[in-house]
C-alpha cells in the first residue's frame, strides 16, 4: 500500500537553485581554504612556534605536550560549526590540512630558499592522523562528551607515534666535541640562529627526563588530559563566534 503524498510538498526542480547553491559552495570552499591557512597557521606559529619550526626543538617533553594541545583548538571550534549545522564531519581534517599547506609553503620558500636552512631542519610535524580520528569519533558518536574524552585523548596520543617515522632519525645519538648529542642538536649548533640562541631552547627541562624512556608517554598522556579540556573549551568558543546576531549599534 502506498500513501498519497501532497504534490505541494515538492517543488518543481528547474536546476538553477542547485547551480546557485553549488556556486556558493565553491566560493565558500575557496574562502575557507585561505581563512584556515591564514588564521590557524598564525595561531599555531605564535603558540607552538619553535617546537614546530626546528628539528632540535622536537624533544620528548615539550613538543608532544604543546603541539596537540594548541593543535586541537581550531579543529574543535570548526567542528562545532560544521558538524552541528551542516553535519559535515571534516572540521578537524580541514583545519589541519590547511595548516600543513601553510607550514610547508613557508618552510620551503621562507626558510629554505630565502635563508638557506636545510629543509630537514625545518620540516613541520603532522597532525593529520590525529585530526582524521577526531573527525571520525565525532561522526560516529555525535557526542561532545565522547569526542572530548576519547577524541581529544586520541588526538594527543597519536601525535608522537605518527611523527616518529618522520623525525626519529634525527634523534640518533652522535658524539661531537667530546659530548653526546643528537643529530637534531647538531643541526642547531651548525646553523646559527641569531634570534633564537641556545639559552632560549626549551627542551628536556626539569626532572621528567629522569624517568628515561617513560618521559614521552608521560608527556603524551598529560597532553591527552589537557586536550579533553581544551577541546570542550574551543567547541564552545567556536559556537560563540558562530553567532547569527544582528546588533542595533556597536
Amino acid at each position: 500500500m502506498s500513501s498519497k503524498l501532497s504534490t505541494q510538498t515538492f517543488h518543481h526542480y528547474i536546476g538553477e537553485k542547485a547551480r546557485i547553491a553549488r556556486a556558493y559552495d565553491y566560493l565558500v570552499l575557496v574562502l575557507a581554504l585561505f581563512l584556515f591557512i591564514g588564521s590557524f597557521h598564525l595561531h599555531f606559529a605564535l603558540t607552538v612556534g619553535d617546537w614546530d619550526f626546528w628539528v632540535d626543538w622536537k624533544d620528548r617533553q615539550w613538543w608532544p605536550l604543546v603541539t596537540p594541545l594548541i593543535g586541537i583548538t581550531f579543529p574543535a571550534a570548526v567542528q562545532a560549526v560544521m558538524w552541528s549545522n551542516f553535519r559535515l564531519p571534516l572540521g578537524a581534517t580541514l583545519c589541519v590540512a590547511c595548516l600543513s599547506i601553510g607550514t610547508w609553503i613557508a618552510r620551503v620558500f621562507a626558510y629554505h630558499y630565502w635563508n638557506f636552512f636545510p629543509i630537514n631542519m625545518v620540516m613541520p610535524s603532522t597532525l593529520l592522523p590525529s585530526a582524521l580520528v577526531l573527525d571520525v569519533i565525532l561522526m560516529m558518536s555525535n557526542s561532545l562528551t565522547i569526542t572530548a574524552i576519547f577524541g581529544g585523548s586520541a588526538f594527543a596520543l597519536l601525535f608522537y607515534p605518527s611523527n616518529w617515522p618522520i623525525f626519529g632519525m634525527f634523534h640518533l645519538p652522535i658524539e661531537a666535541g667530546n659530548s653526546q648529542l643528537t643529530i637534531a642538536d647538531m643541526f642547531g649548533f651548525q646553523y646559527i640562529r641569531t634570534g633564537m640562541p641556545e639559552y632560549l631552547r626549551i627542551i628536556e627541562r626539569g626532572t621528567l627526563r629522569t624517568y628515561g624512556q617513560i618521559a614521552t608517554p608521560l608527556s603524551a598522556f598529560c597532553s591527552a588530559l589537557l586536550c579533553t579540556l581544551m577541546y570542550t573549551l574551543w567547541w564552545h568558543i567556536g559556537h560563540w563566534f558562530a553567532t547569527t546576531r544582528y546588533l542595533k549599534k556597536i
Partner: protein
C-alpha cells in the same frame, strides 16, 4: 521531440557565461591575480635585496632599498583605503527596500567573494609572511623595527587585509538589506578582531625594543596577534547568516518561477 520556446530560453540562460549570480566572478579572479602578483613580487624583491642591503639599518643602501619601500607602502595603503572605502560608500544602494530577490542572491555571492579575497590577504599576512618573519630574524640582527620583512608584513600585508575586510563590511552594510537594518555581529568580529592584530604591532615592537630582543615565536609578546586571529572564527557566523537568508531567497525565486 520538439523543443518549446520556454525551454530554449532556459537553455540559453544556462549556457550564458558567467551566469547572472556570478556576475562579479571575473573581478573576483582578477583580485586574486593582482594580489598574487603583488605578494610574489614582494618575495622576489626580498630575495634580491634582503642579504645585500637589508641586514644593517645604518647602511645607506638600507635607506634606498628598504625605507623607500616603507614610504611607498604607507602612501599606497593610505590612498587605497580612501579610494576603496570611499567608492563603496558613495556608490551605495539607496533603495534597498525595493531590492529584487535575484539581485539580493547575486549580492550575497559577491559578498562571499569579498570575504574570500579578504581571507586570501589574511593567508599572506598570517601564514606566509608571518612565518617568514621568524626565518628572517634568525639571520639578521634586529637593529630596527623596520626590518626587511616587517616593512612588507606590518606596513603592507596587515593594512591590506584590514582594508579588504573593511570593504567586505561596507559592501554588506550598503548593499544587503539584513546587514543594513542591523549590524552583523559575526561579520564585525571577523573584521575588527584581526584589525587588532595591527594594533598589537605596537606592543610587539615596544617589547622587542625594550625588553626582549630575541625571536622566540611562542613568547607572550606575540599573544596579541594570537587573540586577534581567533576572531576570524566569526566567519562561521557569517556563513550561517548567509545560508539562512539564501534558503529564503532561493525559495522565493523558485515559487515565482
Amino acid at each position: 521531440m520538439g523543443t518549446i520556446t520556454d525551454q530554449i530560453k532556459i537553455m540559453t540562460d544556462q549556457t550564458k557565461m558567467p551566469p547572472w549570480y556570478l556576475k562579479d566572478i571575473y573581478r573576483y579572479l582578477s583580485a586574486f591575480g593582482v594580489l598574487t602578483l603583488i605578494y610574489i613580487g614582494f618575495r622576489i624583491y626580498q630575495g634580491a635585496h634582503g642579504i645585500s642591503s637589508g641586514l644593517d639599518s645604518t647602511d645607506p643602501a638600507f635607506e634606498i632599498y628598504w625605507m623607500r619601500l616603507f614610504n611607498f607602502n604607507v602612501t599606497f595603503i593610505t590612498l587605497f583605503a580612501g579610494l576603496s572605502w570611499g567608492y563603496l560608500w558613495f556608490s551605495r544602494d539607496k533603495n534597498l527596500d525595493t531590492l529584487e530577490p535575484k539581485e539580493e542572491i547575486r549580492r550575497y555571492l559577491t559578498l562571499t567573494m569579498w570575504i574570500s579575497v579578504y581571507t586570501f590577504a589574511v593567508y599572506w599576512a598570517g601564514s606566509y609572511f608571518a612565518e617568514q618573519d621568524n626565518s628572517w630574524h634568525q639571520v639578521a640582527i634586529r637593529d630596527t623595527p623596520f626590518t626587511a620583512n616587517h616593512i612588507i608584513e606590518f606596513y603592507f600585508n596587515f593594512p591590506m587585509y584590514i582594508i579588504l575586510g573593511g570593504c567586505a563590511w561596507i559592501y554588506a552594510r550598503t548593499r544587503l538589506p539584513l546587514y543594513a537594518k542591523g549590524i552583523s555581529l559575526p561579520l564585525t568580529l571577523a573584521v575588527v578582531g584581526p584589525f587588532m592584530i595591527l594594533v598589537s604591532v605596537g606592543f610587539n615592537e615596544w617589547g622587542h625594543t625594550f625588553w626582549f630582543r630575541e625571536e622566540f615565536f611562542a613568547a607572550p609578546i606575540h599573544y596579541g596577534f594570537v587573540i586577534g586571529v581567533w576572531f576570524a572564527l566569526g566567519v562561521g557566523g557569517i556563513l550561517l547568516q548567509g545560508v539562512t537568508r539564501l534558503i529564503e531567497l532561493l525559495d522565493e525565486i523558485e515559487d515565482a518561477a
